[in-house]
Symmetry: C3
Subunit: 448 residues, 3 copies
Amino acid sequence: MLLDALQREADSQEAALVACALIERMYPICRSITGDGVRRTLDLVEEQVPLARTEVASGTPVFDWVIPREWNVRDAYIADACGRRLVDFHAHNLHLVNYSSPVDRTMSLAELEPHLHSLPDRPDWIPYRTTYYRENWGFCLRHRDREALGSGPFRVVVDSTLEPGSLTFAESVVEGSTAGEAIVYTHTCHPSLANDNLTGIAVAAALAGALRAERPRLTWRFVFGPGTIGSLSWLARNEQRLPRLRAGLTIGLLGDAGPLRYKRSRRGDTVTDRAAAQLLAAAPFGALLTDFEPYGYDERQFCSPGFDLPVGRITRSPNGGYPEYHTSADDLSLVRPESLAESIRALARMIAALDANRRVLNLSPKGEPRLGKRGLYGSVGGAGPGEFEHALLWVLSLADGSHDLLAMAARSGLSIDLLDRAAAALEQAGLARALGDSPADGGEETRQ
Amino acid sequence: MLLDALQREADSQEAALVACALIERMYPICRSITGDGVRRTLDLVEEQVPLARTEVASGTPVFDWVIPREWNVRDAYIADACGRRLVDFHAHNLHLVNYSSPVDRTMSLAELEPHLHSLPDRPDWIPYRTTYYRENWGFCLRHRDREALGSGPFRVVVDSTLEPGSLTFAESVVEGSTAGEAIVYTHTCHPSLANDNLTGIAVAAALAGALRAERPRLTWRFVFGPGTIGSLSWLARNEQRLPRLRAGLTIGLLGDAGPLRYKRSRRGDTVTDRAAAQLLAAAPFGALLTDFEPYGYDERQFCSPGFDLPVGRITRSPNGGYPEYHTSADDLSLVRPESLAESIRALARMIAALDANRRVLNLSPKGEPRLGKRGLYGSVGGAGPGEFEHALLWVLSLADGSHDLLAMAARSGLSIDLLDRAAAALEQAGLARALGDSPADGGEETRQ
Amino acid sequence: MLLDALQREADSQEAALVACALIERMYPICRSITGDGVRRTLDLVEEQVPLARTEVASGTPVFDWVIPREWNVRDAYIADACGRRLVDFHAHNLHLVNYSSPVDRTMSLAELEPHLHSLPDRPDWIPYRTTYYRENWGFCLRHRDREALGSGPFRVVVDSTLEPGSLTFAESVVEGSTAGEAIVYTHTCHPSLANDNLTGIAVAAALAGALRAERPRLTWRFVFGPGTIGSLSWLARNEQRLPRLRAGLTIGLLGDAGPLRYKRSRRGDTVTDRAAAQLLAAAPFGALLTDFEPYGYDERQFCSPGFDLPVGRITRSPNGGYPEYHTSADDLSLVRPESLAESIRALARMIAALDANRRVLNLSPKGEPRLGKRGLYGSVGGAGPGEFEHALLWVLSLADGSHDLLAMAARSGLSIDLLDRAAAALEQAGLARALGDSPADGGEETRQ
């Protein structure tokens, strides 16, 4: 199957180190749902894998939404009467509420207060806040610093621009040999937060890079875009492609110490869900499987009822699931190379299985065909069949057009790798034919 | 939701006391499947809620049945040679086998014996026996008294009439705002038996009375009629109405000390069954849920395969489930006000949920709609959503026309009250539309 | 129901003794997938039940297969230089690899070695090996004897014929009163192996013999044929019959000390599977139920995806499931009369239930029909119904055309015997009608 190397300890560890180096370089950049920070981040990714970029102009309608004006920041701070910067965007880009509109005024503490955000319980951490869709401004600061602000007056400067521009997303596409497609989506809109989601970007780059060296059955599309409005923009521009989408994953938060976690698609029994049940729940990954809920990352959009796609989510600790989440403590120290490496192995395994997965049609379905005369079966009878012969019999038995390899694995207890080899041997011998790759076979997802 | 007050401790206790008073007044009346006893009982109910009565003439065919002649009793007794009444209808109306035909004869003990019914194991209780559909007569008596009858001869008098007349049932109807309907059926045919089923009559009157002050979505029909032939008569006259029947309950035996018990409809997964699973099984009711079986009360008729309606049953101890069942010991002392109050709370909760339940269609199903610009969502992002925002997301996610609110509650773990409020807010905002209220939406029950 | 006597201890034990006697007479014969050994075996069976034989000529195509040349053996041995027979077919027919082609040569040990089969772990047992579909020859011997063979040279003689002829299978058919059919298939191709499968042959003969004295609803077809190519031949000649096949079993290995074991059909929920779940899993049989897998006996062919028939398998220890399997130790001593008797009882029970099973249509489905006026129900009401009345209500409730008696048994908890009597009474009273017996009712298997 695909990505054999990345499924192994050594190669995945090496890939994790490369990912760590990329994460370090991306970390200082101020990203948002639009703006040059995203473009500079994609420049760094492009050093590893080719990207096709899309710019969607401000004002473009996207379903119920509209692409907002583009946001860029030159400077932002709160200074005291002496001009001393008490809160400084250049010290940490989380200090500025993301998408703050321009301000340049002197104001009292009372006037400033409603625009300040801090965490009394975590006085040393800066929270992460955004105001994408309502014009406003604000500053996030350590609660300890907030208590020492003094009584003002304060000079408050947000030297940002909110101007017609565009939203940027990028794709790294690996063409497949059939009409089927698959997607891996990772969000790119978070500023200096490491686990959420520079790990997702770096792991997606690693997988896309490795897959380019192979010849998958499905066309795999690794998409780097902002949360919500980015996936909506991709969906709006790819609606005609969706009927061919066989599987998908949103990924992110892949470097922390928590266990792997798979969140099911809305339908709960899609091919992606069944792959996770087969491949991730058991050893060596022992991933937690959780039901769909309509809060989280971009799976919310892919699984909205108007699309209802076979898209699950792989993270380690999920949104809201670790104390450092959405604070300045989600920094480079939170990202563990061994966690990244395991995440890469798990994703490589999922991609390989989803790509190999297919429905197969037994072309000699009345009785068992003679495997012996085709060299597929030992010719002296009386003793039981070996593991591979067993897999041949299972594939023949279930190759009725309604079972895919994952369904065969679930029913037989055999691994998808073994069933893939057996199916390939039967296809080679003319005893079976892969389905689902031509429009005539019906493109829709196999359901059990 | 509807019937908020009756779902609370205080109001339900007050309603239970009113019900107890009604039960006391109904208790002495000799009821049967026809006759003036039923009419006098309905007079008492009508002091609390308006009723529309239907008289179905003797001889009218009702499916496989025919409305029998009407039965009324002036007097009935067994007297000894001295004229002393040994068994006297006026002492307890259970003494006479219900629907006994007229007799006036002197006979030996041997001749009398086959017409006597007693309970050797419960020598102080009078059993309840009927002979509706085979012309016969008989007396029920305490076994202790039977042993002291003496050797006769006996004067046996049943001064009853079996004459062309009619069967009586009555409805208290609360009109709803949609085309959907629901039914609550309680049987009225038992003579001096308190728990079975004066409690059902009194509780139905309490619920119907309270519901009249509200504006339900469904038209609720509280039907007071005799067992079997009464529900069959209602069904025969309302066949055109059945496709609009969204939910239903037969109720009775609601005052004893046993726990609440819900018996599923024949299909086992109707909206009524799902409501019971959501609302009655857990605290505070802790009701027992049992599968359908074709013995019991009028759910037998509603769930017969030619109708197969979404009608479950709520009782406390069921038929045959307590020693006093169908004997003179099922008297006023068996009815506990606190049991009645809890039964009222449970039924009010079921009625409210069944009435609120609806399928909802997301009118902006491609991606999530912008809740913020409609005032439905906090505008500063970065922190997780609150309980109500969560409910909005769940409703939007599952509002695909195949999930009703009960299905959403089962899947999300949120209460139907919260989901009802969220759905109403989305309907108000033009983001969703309630289904199932017009013929174009399809009137049939939602199945999961 | 059918086969009452054989379901009882005494009659089944008597039948087991008759079966044992037949097994003893069949044991010495050298059988294979073709040849006179099969015909002589069928001669012995025919002493107990009439058989219709079919001869399928060598060269006939059967799906992906072709009927091979017929194989018969006069003599076969390995002799030393002095002419002393070291391995002798006449001592045990397992010594010759089944379907060995003719040889008459003197050869060295080195040349002989690749043609020898023995079991180092079981040095006193002769293994059973075949080479039906690749021309070859070989000898099977005790490993102890193999080690004492000496260094040769050896005279090796296989005086066999592989010539155009035919494959033989036979059927004992008991005609039913409806268009439905059922099959019991047992393989006949094993030489001197007792449990596998002379027990299957003898038990099939016992059941066929007993059933001839009765009048079943289904036409029961007991088929005696070789493994794989035999069932394929039967299927090829009976394709038009398959849509009428309501149930089926492959049987064999019925005499060892292991517990009864039912292997589900490929679909897993066919009528045969549901009968086994109802009748075999519980006391007194306590049979193990196992899922279908595509290895085993002729159920492989009946359940291949092009047929996918409702055919399960009943054995005691399955193929490969006991140490003596496919060796000379599977001899007469392995067959226990008490095991055979229990197998006969279990099969008689399955046959009776499968034959009685039917879908029933309630002809008075709106409300309950009046059972009392038809003499089916006690006429004095007030007390609960008895067991038979309960069964009447269950049948009426579920007689919607989608439940068969087995489904009613599963749902009601009542025995299929009781439900069969209730259904018969309702059919008799004109309240219900059996379905599935005419083409207009649809011949396909009822699924729940």
